[in-house]
């Protein structure tokens, strides 16, 4: 008897369900996450039990590096049409006698990450390309003779009175660096701060501790 030959079928896998799964994951990721904007210095944030989320607008952020360099960031306000950043830069330009062109103002308005450039180099910084910018960021001057950070605070609050100070620091930064920024803020009558932290769960049982 002849052997029954089964026709060799090609192993065909239907990829459609897999595509569906991936599409779902992709959409989930797109909706739940926000883009991580590049930061001029990497900071290792301290932990706390606070569960208040970071506000999306009306905040000015002071990024303090390990060496005490200060980077400043402020948002455009609750509506992008308000263009607060642009106004703040214009005011700063008036203060330091720098005239910014339309394209420079637009560049500053759209700039996503904190900036740590002295005003004197700001024009050059905004016109430079990405790779050249990194070396120009030396931190905003905070000496009492040239307190540009104070000016940034002053004009940010003038342009957007609802703005709140947010401090983002590395947990290993020596405290005097932070203290300097706190002092400048208090000089400008800002007494309420937000400290950016990572969430850490702590559960305590009073009876256990007392025994």
């Amino acid at each position: 008897m002849p052997k029954i030959k089964l026709p060799t079928k090609s192993p065909r896998i239907d990829m459609t369900p897999m595509v569906d799964t991936f599409a779902v994951i992709l959409i989930f990721l797109l909706l739940t996450s926000q883009m991580r904007s590049p930061e001029p210095t990497s900071v290792d944030m301290p932990f706390s039990i606070s569960e208040t989320p970071t506000p999306d607008f009306n905040s000015m952020t002071f990024l303090i590096s390990n060496e005490g360099q200060v980077f400043f960031n402020v948002d455009n306000g609750p509506d992008t049409l308000l263009k607060f950043r642009r106004e703040i830069l214009q005011e700063m330009g008036n203060q330091y006698n720098i005239e910014f062109t339309e394209s420079e103002l637009r560049m500053f308005e759209k700039y996503p990450s904190p900036i740590g450039v002295p005003m004197q180099q700001m024009k050059e910084f905004l016109n430079a390309d990405m790779s050249a910018r990194k070396s120009m960021e030396v931190g905003i001057p905070i000496d009492s003779t040239d307190n540009q950070l104070g000016m940034w605070i002053l004009y940010s609050r003038q342009v957007n009175p609802a703005v709140k100070a947010t401090i983002k620091g590395d947990s290993n930064t020596e405290f005097p660096h932070i203290k300097k920024v706190l002092d400048i803020l208090q000089e400008k009558n800002v007494n309420r701060f937000n400290l950016i932290t990572n969430l850490e769960a702590v559960k305590i049982n009073l009876d256990e501790i007392q025994q």
């Binding site: 991936f22 739940t32 991580r36 706390s48 606070s50 305590i204």
Partner: protein, 221 residues
């Protein structure tokens, strides 16, 4: 890759036009999806960072203004020292008696260290808040979620048994210590705490306790 296309041998003499379902190869699409997912996973941060609110006392601009008076028996001074150490002493320092500075007690940021101390001092208030939260959870007190926080802050401001904590940071302390101690205040439900500049004698107390060279008192201090 996933599909090996094999030509079917045409058997028989008559060619029959086979009706095939239009089949689409999804493999490249899967590849593309994988790539996109990987890209988004790497460039985004899922968990939003949190904020901790803190209010500092207003700077007294008038040099002749007297600092606010607080009762020494409830005061707890916490000095943030170098190397993740805390030095604390109760009460105040007598302005006339700088020769006899009170001894400081060393502790750390662990649950057995500063937290045990704070909870010990703040037991009454902590228990009140804890009981309140428990009753809300069990449904014995029916209030809306929004007013829970308001009720707790009311409990805190009505309290007059807990310590008044004055936090002072020595120069060698770091930012992590600062956040940790404020966090500890929130954990222990301390109603009254504030952050202050360190005084010259307190700096000396830390230096003496930590075995560091002592900075002499200057006019600036």
């Amino acid at each position: 890759m996933a599909e090996i296309i094999q030509q079917e041998k045409g058997g028989g003499g008559k060619k029959k036009a086979k009706k095939l379902l239009p089949h689409m190869d999804m493999t490249p699409m899967v590849d593309l999806m994988m790539l996109l997912i990987t890209f988004f996973m790497l460039t985004t941060s899922l968990s939003k960072s949190k904020i901790m609110e803190i209010m500092l006392p207003e700077k007294i601009r008038d040099p002749n203004a007297a600092p606010p008076k607080i009762s020494a028996s409830r005061t707890l001074n916490i000095l943030l020292g170098p190397d993740d150490k805390i030095y604390w002493y109760p009460g105040g320092v007598d302005a006339e008696d700088y020769e006899n500075l009170p001894p400081v007690i060393e502790t750390d940021y662990s649950a057995e260290g500063i937290r045990a101390l704070l909870l010990d001092r703040n037991t009454t208030l902590f228990r009140t808040i804890n009981d309140f939260e428990q009753q809300v959870l069990e449904g014995k007190i029916r209030i809306s979620q929004d007013s829970v926080a308001a009720s707790i802050s009311k409990l805190k401001s009505d309290d007059d048994t807990g310590p008044i904590v004055l936090i002072k940071a020595y120069d060698k302390a770091d930012y992590g210590n600062f956040v940790d101690i404020l966090d500890e205040m929130n954990i222990c439900g301390i109603a009254r705490y504030t952050f202050m500049d360190i005084a010259w004698y307190e700096r000396q107390m830390v230096e003496r306790a930590a075995g560091l060279p002592i900075t002499p008192a200057t006019a600036a201090n």
